[in-house]
């Protein structure tokens, strides 16, 4: 199955979003066939919109692979684009006339495609890796202190996962509370553009730290060597997987992947949906699916109670979405893609109770089963790590000022532990101030500002709903 004639999954009417960013039509090719995308879409988004959802075949068993994370953190969308292999088409924009080819297992080594032609050597005060809530906030805060900043992100747009948040933020008014996530992304990005001391490099990967605080950056046709006095790692997180038969069928997607499709690109990820996990992500994505016009059949939760905040649960219950606690997904079934799932009740030990299975027809099964910090850069840099399940896995040890065990390397946001965007923005600012202080000495204003932010964060985390994070942090914050 290549293109599906007559399929258009784009959303044209939405209560919150207007899709005005949708630019001119762009013609490109997938497996030799013409596909129409819109300027501003990723290749993956344009393909999915057209009903093309098999993007690669797995190495060993030739199993079809399609959308899962949609933010460049998994490997299910690797395609060859104009001869260039292993392109993550979910973070690659559509361009006129490009040829996109499915990868079947490992790709051939490129022969016609030229490697980097140019190299640039840069020096900067602060290098920030990741342009999501933490990275953007860090850049803006640091830029107030007359330092030079380089901000890199792998995506072609800044904003990270704020871009797909259509709900209004909690917290307090001073911290953008009340604004919707994508509006915060727009605000921060606009502001970044105005700052003369911030240089932004999109579609660029920071691939490693080298001796003497040199960092290697790579974009498609250019390499950079950057000597940075301080580095702030704000690389975010990736979505967790769940083991069950059929979990690799097309139509089994990360909850965040579905949010990217529907909220960032205005593409309906599915019509009949089962959501696994009732944390805030699972609850919010269910509500957003309703807003996008989908039918959410149920939310299943393995724990005996709802994982996320009551107000989010109440929102979906009012519109009749059932939440089955003490339930999990047993199997996803389908020929070409998911057609139905079997859910089952579990006992106190989370074991399936035989005879309680229920079969539910659906074309989308979303996994909202947590996130894992993206620590790859930190680990390579040699930061000491520690496992902490409350914080999402391995995380870097850090001081309360967010410096890791590698001097001059700071961490902020989900890369430092799984939490949420509001605290990521505060942490970004704290890390920025710490970097400024490291470079310029204890400037009174910076020290004061940092203490205030730390105090606010501490107060914020006193909320009983953040107890696990609060306790987890005690294990990883060092002197």
């Amino acid at each position: 199955m290549i293109a599906v004639p007559g399929v258009d999954r784009r959303i044209y009417q939405h209560p919150i979003l207007d899709f005005k960013w949708r630019g001119r039509k762009i013609k490109f090719y997938f497996e030799g066939k013409e596909v129409i995308g819109y300027e501003g879409e990723s290749i993956a988004a344009a393909l999915y919109a057209n009903g093309i959802e098999i993007w690669s075949l797995s190495k060993k068993y030739n199993r079809p692979r399609g959308p899962f994370c949609m933010i460049g953190k998994c490997s299910s969308c690797f395609c060859t684009v104009d001869g260039r292999p292993n392109v993550r088409i979910c973070i690659e924009p559509v361009k006129e006339g490009i040829h996109v080819q499915r990868q079947k297992g490992l790709p051939d080594i490129p022969t016609t495609w030229k490697t980097a032609e140019e190299e640039e050597i840069l020096e900067t005060d602060i290098l920030i890796i990741g342009g999501g809530p933490a990275g953007l906030s860090a850049a803006l805060k640091a830029s107030e202190y007359d330092v030079n900043i380089i901000l890199v992100d792998e995506h072609f747009k800044l904003g990270g996962q704020l871009k797909k948040q259509t709900h209004k933020f909690f917290g307090s008014k001073e911290l953008f509370g009340g604004l919707r996530g994508f509006q915060i992304a727009e605000k921060l990005t606009e502001e970044i553009k105005k700052r003369k001391n911030i240089r932004v490099l999109t579609q660029t990967t920071a691939y490693g730290l080298f001796r003497g605080n040199w960092v290697g950056l790579a974009s498609y046709n250019k390499l950079y060597r950057v000597k940075a006095k301080c580095i702030i790692v704000a690389t975010g997180a990736h979505e967790n997987y769940l083991a069950f038969p059929g979990n690799d069928l097309i139509g089994v997607m990360g909850a965040g992947g579905a949010q990217t499709l529907m909220n960032e690109y205005g593409i309906l990820p599915g019509k009949n949906v089962v959501v696994v996990g009732s944390g805030n992500v699972g609850l919010i994505v269910s509500y957003q699916l309703l807003q996008a016009g989908a039918n959410v059949k149920c939310i299943v939760e393995i724990l005996p109670h709802i994982g996320g905040w009551f107000v989010h649960a109440a929102k979906v219950r009012r519109y009749g979405i059932p939440i089955y606690v003490k339930h999990t997904v047993k199997e996803a079934i389908g020929k070409e893609r998911v057609e139905k799932v079997i859910i089952t009740q579990v006992d106190e030990k989370f074991q399936p109770i035989p005879g309680t299975e229920k079969e539910i027809e659906c074309d989308l099964l979303l996994l909202a089963v947590g996130l894992t910090p993206d620590i790859r850069f930190l680990a390579q840099a040699g930061c000491k790590m520690k496992w902490n399940s409350a914080l999402g896995g391995f995380v870097a040890l850090r001081t309360r000022y967010l410096e890791t065990t590698v001097p001059g390397v700071f961490v902020a946001g989900d890369a430092s532990k799984i939490e949420e965007a509001t605290t990521a923005m505060i942490e970004g600012q704290i890390a920025a101030l710490s970097a400024v202080i490291k470079i310029k000495g204890p400037i009174e204003k910076a020290v004061k500002e940092r203490e205030e932010l730390l105090k606010f964060l501490e107060e914020y985390r006193k909320s009983p709903v953040l107890r696990r994070t609060r306790e987890g942090l005690k294990e990883v914050v060092i002197e």
Binding site: F170, I306, R317, R318, E459, V465, L466
Partner: protein
């Protein structure tokens, strides 16, 4: 975790439970005119409603406390309904004899004034139909005021547009 309250298992809270949190105004107050009902019983880090209220009717000592409402101060203006990110604020008005007015937050395509909409309870159950009497909007959140039977005033918490 044995002390998990029922509403944390279902996502549905009862009026009785809300009363225990001090979140239901006395009936005499509702009979005087529109008044807020904040259905936010969990200690989450949020105080948007506090800054949203023009008359300072909602307060929180710490950002994570459960909101406290001063029913006498509240004018029922609906600002908090529009601004609360948890869509947890509602306004109820029992000052009319044969009907009640309920204002609910709404983040779907809005109905028009005069339109009949489906009334939904906290559990998504259909509670009949009601007429829309007012629609206000802020940043794509609508506050929809519907006319309902007085006995449904504490039950209707969402509306849904009827299919054409």
């Amino acid at each position: 975790m044995t002390d998990v309250p029922g509403w944390k298992k279902t996502g549905i809270i009862t009026v009785e439970e809300l009363k225990k949190f001090g979140l239901i105004p006395p009936e005499e107050r509702l009979k005087k005119g529109p008044c807020v009902i904040v259905e936010c019983p969990e200690e989450i880090p949020c105080n948007i409603c506090v800054s949203a209220c023009p008359v300072g009717a909602i307060s929180k000592e710490k950002i994570y406390n459960i909101p406290k409402v001063d029913w006498e101060k509240c004018t029922g203006c609906g600002n908090c309904v529009l601004i609360c990110p948890g869509l947890a604020c509602f306004v109820v008005d029992l000052s009319h004899d044969d009907y009640a007015l309920v204002t609910v937050p709404h983040e779907f395509l809005p109905p028009k004034v005069g339109e009949k909409v489906i009334l939904l309870g906290r559990d998504g159950r259909k509670l009949g139909e009601g007429e829309v009497v007012r629609v206000i909007e802020r940043n794509k959140t609508y506050a929809i005021t519907v006319k309902v039977k007085p006995e449904l005033a504490m039950e209707v918490r969402a509306v849904w547009k009827k299919m054409k």
